[in-house]
Each structure stands twice: as structure tokens, then as C-alpha cells.
Amino acid sequence: MSRKIILVAALGILFVMFFLSMEEMEDLFKNDAKLYFFEHGLDDTGSSNLITAILLDYRLFDSLFEAGILLVAVFGVIWISRHDFEERNAHFMLDKYKTPELFVTLSRFVFPLLLMLGFFIILNGHLTPGGGFQGGAVVATAILLLYYINLERKTDISLIVAVVKFAYLGIVLTASISLITRGEIFTNFMAVDAPTMSKYIYIIALDILIGINVALCLWAIFTAFLKEGR
């Protein structure tokens, strides 16, 4: 009991410290730095969506390792779930007698729509909210519905990982082309004075590669969880 009182008191001190420092933090992102993105973002990168512009052009180095961390997580999950005993599907989740028929029928209906939504989000990353990471997650969700449509489904996890490695290599190579065309690494490979309309070819190409990377990584993680079973 006394432990909980000490804990609540410590959390209360944290709260007071946060409350006192909030005055300074509130204006953290309300300066004029956003005006630079607003005025130059579209011309610099060819992307109306400034979040995609930051992710894929201004801070691309950050995004590369973001995709890399997902890849490392897949390797970690596969390495930890490596096992000698017989592989089983997760019975608590994907049991033929426990999965309702309505759920299976609805999955068949939703699957193509969800796949189409995912591709839409990936391909329109420069115009509407979305991009490679978000669209890849939606595509992965659509692929996971396949496990409900066909409960006996088996997936070769090593094949997925091989494709993911090449997708990640493709991201790094696409980001490095600018070293030849522009003379600086990790930025748009179109020329600086190229028309804005042609600059988003780079954004779409990188969005597609990141989408493939994220979708396959999440698929591999889910498959590893299924194989682990009960």
C-alpha cells in the first residue's frame, strides 16, 4: 500500500514538473519555420503534401533508417521464433470451427476494396494524406485477411524476407541516384531547375518501394506469430 502511495506521489511530481515547463514547450512548433516549408516545399520537392516532402526529401536519411528498423525487427522476430518443434497454426485465432462464416464471407468482400485503398494511398502520397508507410500498413492488413479466407494457408517466410531485402536495397539505390544527377546524396534525383510537375516521379517511385517494404515486413511479422502458435 505504501509503495502505491510513493508511486502516485512520484507521478504527481512529474505532473507538476510538466505543468511548469508547459509554457515554454507550447510555442515549440509555432515559430516561422513552417513558412519555409509552405513557400518552398512544393517547388523543392514536387509534393503538395508537405509531410511526404519532409519524409522523402528533407529528412530522407531519417526515413531510410526508419524502414531499416522495421527490417531489423523482422530479422529479430524470425530469429527469436526459430524453433525445432512442429509448426502449428494459431488455433485460438484461426480455427475452422470457431471462425464465424459471416466473418469469412465479409473478408472475401472487403479484401479487394482494402487492397485498392492501400494502393490509392501509396500512389497519391504526394497529393493526399498518406504515403508509403501508411499505405503499406493498409495493404498488409488486406493481405492478412487472406488468412481468414483460407484458414489452411501456408506462407514461405524466407521468400518474403528475400524480397524485402531487395526492396530495401532499391530504396537506398533510388535515394543515391541524386549523387550522380545532382551531386548531393539522399535527395530528389531530378534536376534542381526541372519543372515541379516532373519532380514527383521520384516521390511516387520511393513511395512504392517503401510501401512494398512495409507491407512485406508486417506480413512476415504476422506469419512468424502464426507459426509460433499456442
Partner: protein, 111 residues
């Protein structure tokens, strides 16, 4: 929404992390702290009259897109950490037959 409310979400996660008896609940609490941090950053970026950061002709002022881009990183890394933590939970359950902190720590071979 007030930034104080988002910090209360973080405090709820910290309290749960300190008091939860199950490993899987601890993983959930880490996720709750993460959501609190995401809400806090999006809260700082927001202000009255700022539109979403997509350039078009009828937009006069936008919110700062930088915290939005940073929070995508947080979400991706958070999902990676959660996946690793949960697969370790499954391994612990296979090995020790329980996911309760107390029951695992009571065993001789752990110490």
C-alpha cells in the same frame, strides 16, 4: 485538446507499467505511453486557424508539418518494438508456462 490531458495519458501508462502483474499488460502500457507522446506532439503543432499541411490555392496558413513527419517515425518504431516484445512474451510463455511476473521470478532457474 489541452496538452495536460495528453500528459495524463502518459502518466496512466507509467502507473500501469509500475503496477501491472502480467508481461503482456506491461507491453500494452509502453504502447499507451507512446500514444500519449504522439498526441502531445500533434497538440503542440496545432493552433487556431491552421489548415492541414497540404499546399493548395485556398490555404492561407498551415500547421508545422515537422512534428507530423516525426510522429510517423515514432509509430513505425513503436510497432517494431511491440512486435519484438510480444514474440519474446510468447517465448517466455513456452519456456516457463506463465506470463505473470511473480510466477516467473519465483522460479529457481531464473535467479
Amino acid at each position: 485538446m489541452n496538452p495536460v490531458l495528453t500528459f495524463i495519458v502518459v502518466l496512466i501508462g507509467l502507473y500501469g507499467l509500475a503496477t501491472s502483474k502480467n508481461i503482456i499488460k506491461s507491453v500494452f502500457c509502453v504502447t499507451i505511453i507512446e500514444s500519449g507522446v504522439i498526441l502531445l506532439f500533434l497538440n503542440f503543432a496545432n493552433y487556431e486557424g491552421g489548415a492541414i499541411p497540404i499546399v493548395s490555392e485556398d490555404v492561407a496558413a498551415i500547421v508545422d508539418p515537422l512534428p507530423h513527419a516525426l510522429m510517423i517515425t515514432t509509430i513505425v518504431i513503436g510497432s517494431a518494438v511491440t512486435a519484438l516484445a510480444l514474440i519474446i512474451c510468447i517465448k517466455v510463455f513456452h519456456h516457463y508456462g506463465s506470463t505473470e511476473w511473480a510466477q516467473i521470478l519465483r522460479r529457481e532457474d531464473v535467479k
